[in-house]
Amino acid sequence: MKELLAGSQSGAISGQGVRHAWQSLRARVHHHLVLHPFFGEVGQRALLIFAALFILSSTAGILNGRYWAARDTLARGEFERARGLNAQGLHEQALRHLRAAFHLERKNRDYRMAFTLTLIQLERYGEARIQLDEILRDDPTNAPANLLLARIAASEGAASMDSAVQYYQRAIYGLWPDNPLHHRIDTRFELAHFLASEDRIEELRAELIILASDIRDDPGQLLNTGYLMLFAHAPAQAETVFTRVLGRYPRNAEALAGLGKAQLETGNFAASEQTFLRAARANPENLEVRKQLALVQQIRALNPKRRGLGIYVSADRAGHLLIITLDRLAACADRKSLPPEVQDDMAAAATHLETRRRGAPPAESIDARIELAIRLFHDGSDFCVNPAEQPAVEHLTRALAVEQ
């Protein structure tokens, strides 16, 4: 060692000096440790083995750090390459790199999720489903994974409908990495649209009620909810939702159109007419509103129970309604083939109409005529193969039936 130090102080370490120092060190170690009576032969071997163990574990420790760091770097590189390829729409090539990144860093959720999303984009649902199942095995409350599984199940057709709904529900109530309220509302909308497409009206209605209470003041979301409520035959709730929008945006043409439709469905024809008029003024180019307005006006012209009508006018309208419904039934069904009670209704309608011509007192017969008209309309819908579409009569009879 002294020679070594001397060599280094003089500015040059000679090879001979290093060798000599090493031999000297070895001799001292040998003398003090190996030849010392403290250690027997086995002791020396044991010392050697434990020294080797120490060196091996240190080496493994160093390699371990480098190994995981290298894996991490490689995986990140692959992930970035895949992101670039995905952005260019080259999903197939991106998948190869994502797969490599994922194999390198199996625990990284971002890689796994990106990998799974690419699989879904490539419509490789079987593989994607397995990945998502594994994510959920580790973290059952993972909302994005549940949502993706819901979409896969929804795409698989009738057999997976129930599981799709379950996954949607888990996604709604699961944990989102950021902005949970926003994601929950979006997911519930997706579920609502899915339920609407599958005609699962009861469930749809339940979801829409929750949605209406969750949404703060986003007019777009409220309008969407309102129209879905109309689809789900919940006009009263839809009316409330559209009114909320109009509270903040009184001239919103879509909200006015929706409210008018909701009022039409609830049988509030006068209010509906007024709302459609406002909607038409707010957006004169909306042909659908004009069509709806014309319908409401037609209904109001037919309505025997409209306020302010005299008793003769009411009776006359009731009789007119009876004629329309009777003609509709007679036009599409062979009288003899109809059930006896329907035939009886038709005979009763004819009698009423005879009485009307003879000018009998109308007060007693208005309600009876209306009731008969409602029944005949329903009979027409039930027994005719292709009954004539009469939306105004349909709306009116429905409203009158509720009133009766």
């Binding site: 010392h36 009576p37 403290f38 250690f39 027997g40 086995v42 002791g43 071997r45 044991a46 050697l48 083995i49 080797a52 163990l53 091996l56 574990s57 080496t59 493994a60 390699l63 371990n64 480098r66 190994y67 290298a70 490689l74 590189g77 692959e78 190869r96 790199h97 797969r99 490599a100 194999h103 390198l104 199996r106 079987g126 593989e127 397995i130 990945q131 199942d133 594994e134 095995r137």
Partner: protein, 584 residues
């Protein structure tokens, strides 16, 4: 002061003596004395730790080499894919042949040779040789696996540690399997499989003395490995369920396919190895390089087959491939592995076997799934079962193959399908292959190692196969004259005597004649002789146990285990000779 210095010097010497001779300690209290058996048990933990660390480093090195040569993902560069496998094969063969010649050969056969030939001796050189050569060959993409080298590294470390601690000869012979278990447990991350494999393939029998050490070493090596590489199993296995008994038909078909492919694989391997060995000495370097190049060519189209190929197995488990691709991968791996192994490139066979099994299972399973009325089964179940079938068919270790699949899948549901498929594959392999894979390889390497399969199935003779079922015995109160008469009527010159305490003794014709000559003809046997109790034998005992007892007495009673007073028969040396077909 000088007194204190003297005392200290005395104490120091005592301590030195204690450590050197291990008889007493400095305070005069006897130190715990470790015999060879206890040392064997304690060393197994050290062996496990050592092997675990070594396998971890081996794993790191393989990965580093793979990333540096083949890149990520594998097969990105055409030039690297074509050039590095032959280059790696050449370097690894050079290392084995020129630097570490004692590292040549199969790890399992080298370990078995250590047990049966060299009293547990495995040179440390072979550990370094396997470590370097196999990491280069596998890391550079040659189609071989790291488990067999890991097994030999564990065995080599164990052998060195055993030698260092002067274990007794019988323990030295068994220490290599202890290390082998540690090595394979660390490589597979499956302690149960490692223990079973070593018992089934390396030792060949359930040896209670070594079982504890094997378990300890396997567990300690897995603990070390997991602390570095994480506790994830070798494969991530998706969940699946066993729903319909009809699925078992599919698994049985898979067992048939697995068995046939196993037979084809081993036959191809033997055939090509024999052809290659007929070539000149140039083959040692040229063939691995050519095989590596061909593997590179295959890897251009199917990069998944390069190296151990575990990533492709993982992909197969996760439904990445359709049935055509799975069967194509199986075929490609088959060819690549046969080429590499036959050419003599260093590396093991476990990983390729699992790869071929997984892809075959997945492919056949998906094909079966397309048949109308067949129940829908998760692809991962077929992949797992396929792995087991090839393992059972090629290595002929049925128990290990079942538990391996169970351990890597962590699914109890898979047990039933695996048992059915593996048993079928195993039986087909037995039917069409005269010897298991490792024995064929040992033969090729010039070793004649005992067949563990035969050893397991060899029928040993029991007492019931040799005993004489004559239940006649003399009574203790019978007179000497009557006994003499009975003995003269008998074929043998001695007889059993029932004593008062319902135990058995014996008298010989000569002794009875002598007693009569001494005028004891009227005395009962109990009074005429000092009757000593004979050891009892039972019908189910092995014949060698009877043989060792018959060295002291001419006849032994065979009694019922439930009623020791009930004589079922007797046995003599002559009976045992007859059972072994030796003429008296």
């Amino acid at each position: 002061m000088s007194t204190i210095a003297e005392i200290l010097e005395t104490k120091r010497r005592q301590l030195a003596d204690t450590l050197a001779n291990r008889n007493f300690n400095a305070s005069g209290i006897p130190l715990p004395q470790f015999g060879s058996a206890q040392r064997f048990l304690l060393l197994s933990i050290l062996i496990g730790v050592f092997s675990g660390l070594l396998v971890v480093c081996f794993h790191f090195l393989i990965e580093f080499i793979s990333w540096s040569t083949l890149g990520v993902p594998v097969g990105e560069s055409l030039v690297y894919t074509l050039l590095f496998p032959p280059f790696g094969a050449l370097v690894s063969v050079l290392l084995i042949r020129e630097v570490f010649p004692r590292a040549e050969g199969s790890g399992i056969n080298n370990t078995k040779a250590a047990i049966y030939i060299s009293d547990g001796y495995i040179p440390l050189q072979s550990v370094f040789g396997k470590f370097l050569a196999c990491s280069i060959s596998i890391g550079s993409g040659n189609s071989l696996g790291p488990e067999d080298p890991a097994l030999q590294m564990g065995a080599g470390v164990a052998s060195y540690i055993g030698r260092s601690f002067h274990l007794a000869r019988e323990h030295m012979r068994l220490i290599a399997p202890v290390g082998a278990a540690a090595g394979i447990a660390a490589a597979f991350n499956t302690p149960i499989t490692a223990v079973l494999f070593v018992i089934e393939e390396v030792i060949g029998s359930w040896n209670a003395g070594v079982l504890g050490s094997i378990v300890l070493s396997a567990v300690s090596s897995v603990v070390v490995t997991r602390s570095f590489l994480g506790d994830q199993p070798l494969f991530r296995v998706p969940e699946f369920q066993f729903r319909d008994p009809l699925e078992l038909v599919a698994y049985a078909v898979m067992g048939v396919a697995g068995g046939l492919v196993s037979v084809a694989f081993v036959r191809a391997l033997v055939f090509i190895r024999e052809r290659f060995s007929d070539l000149g000495s140039w083959r040692h370097y040229a063939l691995p390089a050519i095989a590596g190049f061909l593997v590179g060519c295959i890897g251009l189209g199917l990069p998944g087959i390069m190296g151990a190929g575990y990533e492709s197995v993982d992909s197969a488990l996760h439904d990445e491939f359709g049935w055509h691709m799975l069967l194509l991968l199986c075929l490609a791996k088959f060819a690549a592995t046969v080429l590499c192994f036959s050419a003599g490139t260093p590396g093991g066979m476990f990983a390729p076997t699992l790869f071929m099994g997984a892809t075959l299972g997945g492919g056949v399973g998906l094909l079966i799934g397309n048949i109308p009325r067949m129940p829908e089964v998760a692809g991962s179940a077929y992949v797992l079962v396929g792995m087991g079938t090839l393992f059972a068919g090629i290595f002929r270790t049925p128990m290990t193959s079942i538990f391996m699949v169970f351990e890597v899948s962590a699914s109890y549901v898979i047990i039933l399908p695996v048992m059915i498929a593996n048993t079928i594959a195993y039986l087909i392999s037995r039917r069409f292959l005269p010897e298991p894979f490792f024995e064929l390889m040992a033969r090729h390497e010039g070793l004649d190692l005992p067949s563990n399969e035969e050893q397991r199935e060899r029928e040993s003779l029991h007492v019931e196969d040799a005993m004489s079922r004559t239940r006649r015995a003399l009574s203790w109160d019978m007179s000497v004259d009557a006994a003499l008469h009975a003995l003269r009527q008998s074929d043998v010159p001695y007889a059993l005597v029932s004593t008062r305490r319902a135990v058995w003794a014996s008298v010989s014709l000569a002794a009875v004649e002598r007693a009569r000559e001494q005028g004891k003809g009227d005395l009962p046997l109990a009074e005429a002789f000092a009757l000593t109790d004979l050891p009892r034998l039972y019908m189910d005992l092995a014949l060698d146990e009877a043989l060792s007892k018959l060295s002291k007495v001419p006849i032994l009673p065979i009694v019922s285990r439930a009623r020791p007073d009930q004589l079922l028969g007797s046995i003599t040396l002559n009976d045992i000779h007859k059972a072994f077909g030796i003429k008296a």
